[in-house]
């Protein structure tokens, strides 16, 4: 992998991890479409992916630093007190715990098996198209509930732990390469009655511990002999992924104040179907 390829992958990771378009799907599809000769199973590539995730997680923590501090304080107070209160920050902190449990368990148990089964271009193309269809379906249901039936939106703090766990469960769909973590979590949030901006905020907060833990748990791969050779690429990739992830989350939090998932859904549907045709007809081997 050249330095330019590494930086392009870092930008791709920073953007696609938070935009609802599946980072894992793009990491499989883009090198295949551009006919890059990259061994995605090599130690150096795995180490590179780890640092990209680390950069993304740090960007999310920095962007939401005030929120995380407030949530941490409320969470600690709640445990010290030994009971729940009406503090909205405390409720959100517990929602994050409820949402993280299913994704942590399913991720640890299934990630390797699912990746081994589906991380090749043709299944990824289909899952990417399915990701688009899922978001369009979610938007349609949301419009029926709120725009047509006139039901008011719920606030994030009004969700129950069951709602939080359901959104976490939906996020687990992102184990399938091509299904977006943020997309599935935002759709689940919309279906539980949230507005786009609250659904997106919950999705990004929920993603932070998962991405961070996934990166930290893979740190040993950085010390593999093969990985040390690509240290410069990894360091550059970490910074580039972090900066693009920060810009992405800043853009998306503004976007979801008054826009919906529509453009991302149509992009995934189109890119998924087009990639599927290109790979099945062997236009791209």
């Amino acid at each position: 992998m050249s330095f330019a390829q590494a930086m392009l992958l870092a930008v791709l990771q920073g953007v696609s991890e938070l935009f609802p378009i599946s980072s894992l799907g793009h990491t499989v599809l883009v090198p295949a479409l551009l006919r890059w000769d990259i061994d995605e199973g090599s130690e150096s590539f795995l180490a590179f992916v780890v640092v990209l995730h680390f950069g993304t997680a740090v960007a999310l923590i920095v962007f939401y630093r005030d929120t995380w501090l407030a949530l941490g304080r409320s969470f600690a107070r709640s445990i010290a007190r030994g009971r729940f209160s009406d503090d909205p920050q405390e409720r959100v902190a517990w929602l994050l715990v409820a949402g993280t449990i299913p994704v942590a368990i399913l991720g640890v148990l299934l990630q390797s098996a699912v990746k081994a089964l589906f991380a090749s271009p043709i299944p990824v193309s289909l899952f990417l198209a399915a990701n688009g269809a899922l978001m369009l379906f979610g938007e349609r249901l949301r419009r029926r509930e709120h725009a047509v039936a006139g039901r008011p939106y719920r606030t994030l703090a009004s969700l129950t732990p069951r709602d939080g766990a359901l959104v976490g469960l939906a996020q687990s769909l992102a184990l399938l390469p091509g299904i977006s973590r943020s997309g599935s979590a935002i759709v689940a949030g919309l279906l539980r009655g949230l507005h786009h901006d609250d659904a997106a905020r919950y999705s990004f907060l929920l993603a932070t511990p998962v991405i961070f833990a996934a990166a930290v748990l893979e740190i040993p791969t950085l010390f593999a002999p093969d990985a040390r050779a690509a240290l410069l690429q990894s360091a550059g990739g970490c910074v580039v992924a972090g900066v693009t992830a920060y810009a992405s989350v800043a853009f998306l939090t503004r976007w979801f104040r008054s826009n919906d998932l529509g453009p991302f859904a149509w992009y995934c549907l189109g890119a998924g179907i087009l990639s599927f045709i290109l790979f099945v007809t062997k236009v791209i081997a």
Binding site: I79, G82, R83, A104, I105, V108, L217
Partner: protein, 57 residues
């Protein structure tokens, strides 16, 4: 419920140790499975704390 919370915490801790020492299914050392088991044990202890505080009130 307090007893159940404590029992579950103990079970998850044992499972974590078994994962780290390679004596649980699937065979082999599974560091990540062990970490998730410890996190679940900690959550059970938090649950125990909430139950205890409720009893004290």
């Amino acid at each position: 419920m307090k007893q159940l919370a404590l029992a579950l915490a103990a079970v998850f801790l044992v499972v974590a140790v078994l994962y780290w020492t390679g004596h649980f299914y699937p065979p082999g050392v599974h560091a990540k499975h062990g970490i998730v088991s410890v996190v679940l044990a900690l959550l059970c202890l938090v649950w125990f704390r909430f139950q205890s505080a409720e009893g004290a009130r």
